[in-house]
């Protein structure tokens, strides 16, 4: 997702300084997010340059600067929220490429690869289930919903492995150029 709009969204309603943005972001996503404070500062500077956020008041303690949403920033945020996620499906895990390569390589252990990947997905499902339980226990229903989405995605990945396993891969896939 875009860090830019995430920052804009957090600034809606109240001005924050960089470190607060980072903390709010981390709290919202329940520790499922990895970003360093430098990226936040860079993002804020660029948003300020583009007129989407503006300083709220003078710099305070140790150069801390509060930022607030500008009317342009508000408009950009609203547009982003209203727009459905379209564009290409993001496939960023190695398995997609591994599978294609394994089908090309003679004696590629495709069934073994599928079985190992399937087991990894099962373990991930278990971990996600734990995380969902924890989120619910902590009263974080928003986070539980996020985890639920991840659960369903992983379930689909698992089904895909099953489908591929039952396909009886020959070498024909490797011949296509």
């Amino acid at each position: 997702m875009s860090l830019k709009y995430g920052v804009l969204g957090l600034l809606k309603g109240e001005p924050l300084h960089g470190y607060e943005v980072k903390n709010r972001f981390e709290a919202m996503l329940g520790g499922t997010w990895d970003v360093n404070i430098g990226q936040i500062y860079t993002t804020l500077q660029r948003l300020e340059r583009d007129g989407l956020v503006r300083p709220a008041g003078p710099r305070g303690d140790r150069g801390k600067q509060l930022y607030e949403l500008s009317p342009e920033g508000q408009k950009a945020l609203d547009q982003w929220l209203a727009q459905p996620d379209s564009g290409p499906q993001q496939l960023h895990e190695d398995i997609y490429v591994k599978l294609l390569l394994a089908a090309r390589i003679a004696n590629g252990d495709l069934q073994g690869m599928l079985a190992r990947q399937k087991r990894a997905y099962l373990q991930r499902l278990r971990d996600l289930n734990r995380l969902e339980e924890r989120a619910r226990r902590d009263g974080r229903l928003d986070l539980a919903r996020l985890v639920r989405g991840a659960l369903l995605h992983t379930e689909a990945d698992l089904k895909w492995m099953d489908e591929l396993s039952s396909e009886r891969f020959g070498t024909e896939g490797a011949k296509t150029e």
Partner: protein, 261 residues
């Protein structure tokens, strides 16, 4: 660890890790005349006492066949099945029926309650077949499963979730050594299905050995620490899942892109 409590002191053969084996299938095949679907093709597996195991696989893979054989509802074409140290193949029809009644609890997708009997009467059937008056046990189960207030209703007046609870109580009335469940959430909506699974998980925490057939990987991995995958009548994977506390970022990573230029 999953808080498992192993009850009982009998050891049924030499299990690993000091656990005792409850079920053993050895080279089990099942051939159906005129069709391949559901057949088993040389299955060997052992289930320990106190385990919550899920059997997963596509329809026609043989997973339900496996459960029916362990339940003694059907007999294998070849191979041996031992449950609690008893070789089911050595039992005659009457002996097998008695074994099922005394030691196996079975929960089905479509409940199979008798429509002309109340919830309580349904629950009591297996005990009555044993010649037992199990009203105290039934009351305990009704309470445990949260269906005391509908005990006198007929199945038609129960929701799906309530019917499945009654079916679970019926399966447990004789304190079976093994609880088998074939798609117990298959006819229930997601929420009710999760409640029934929570119930099974609670029974497991009290020491109940459970063998669950399901196609729902989310539910299977939530409750079962062991997932056996069956395909084309063979076991293709037998995964023992870990359940350590992991940091959220080790389970999910939300990726962010920096604003460009």
């Amino acid at each position: 660890m999953d808080g498992r409590i192993v009850v009982g002191t009998f050891r049924y053969g030499g299990g690993e890790n000091g656990m005792s084996e409850l079920v053993r299938l050895t080279d089990v095949t099942k051939v159906y005349q005129g069709g391949l679907t559901g057949a088993l093709n040389g299955i060997s597996v052992s289930i320990e006492k106190g385990e919550f195991t899920a059997i997963m696989g596509p329809s026609g893979s043989g997973k339900s066949t496996m459960l029916n054989l362990v339940a003694g509802l059907d007999r294998p074409t070849s191979g041996t099945i031992a449950v609690g140290g008893t070789d089911l193949g050595k039992l005659g029809e009457a002996g097998l029926a008695r074994f099922r009644r005394d030691h196996i609890g079975f929960v089905f997708q479509f409940f199979y309650l008798l429509p002309n009997l109340t919830a309580l009467e349904n629950i009591l059937i297996p005990a009555q077949l044993m010649g037992n008056v199990a009203t105290a046990r039934a009351a305990e189960l009704l309470d445990q499963l949260g269906i005391t207030d509908v005990a006198d209703r007929y199945p038609a007046r129960l929701s799906g979730g309530q019917q499945q609870r009654v079916a679970v109580a019926r399966a447990l009335i004789n304190n079976p050594m093994l609880l088998l469940a074939d798609e117990p959430t298959g006819a229930l909506d997601t929420h009710t299905g999760e409640q029934v699974m929570e119930l099974l998980a609670g029974l497991h925490r009290q020491g109940q050995t459970i063998l669950l057939v399901t196609h729902d990987a989310k539910l299977a991995t939530r409750h079962a620490a062991r997932v056996i995958s069956v395909m084309d009548g063979k076991i293709v994977d037998d995964a023992r899942l870990e359940s350590p506390e992991r940091a959220p970022s080790d389970v999910i990573r939300v990726r962010t892109e920096e604003v460009s230029r």
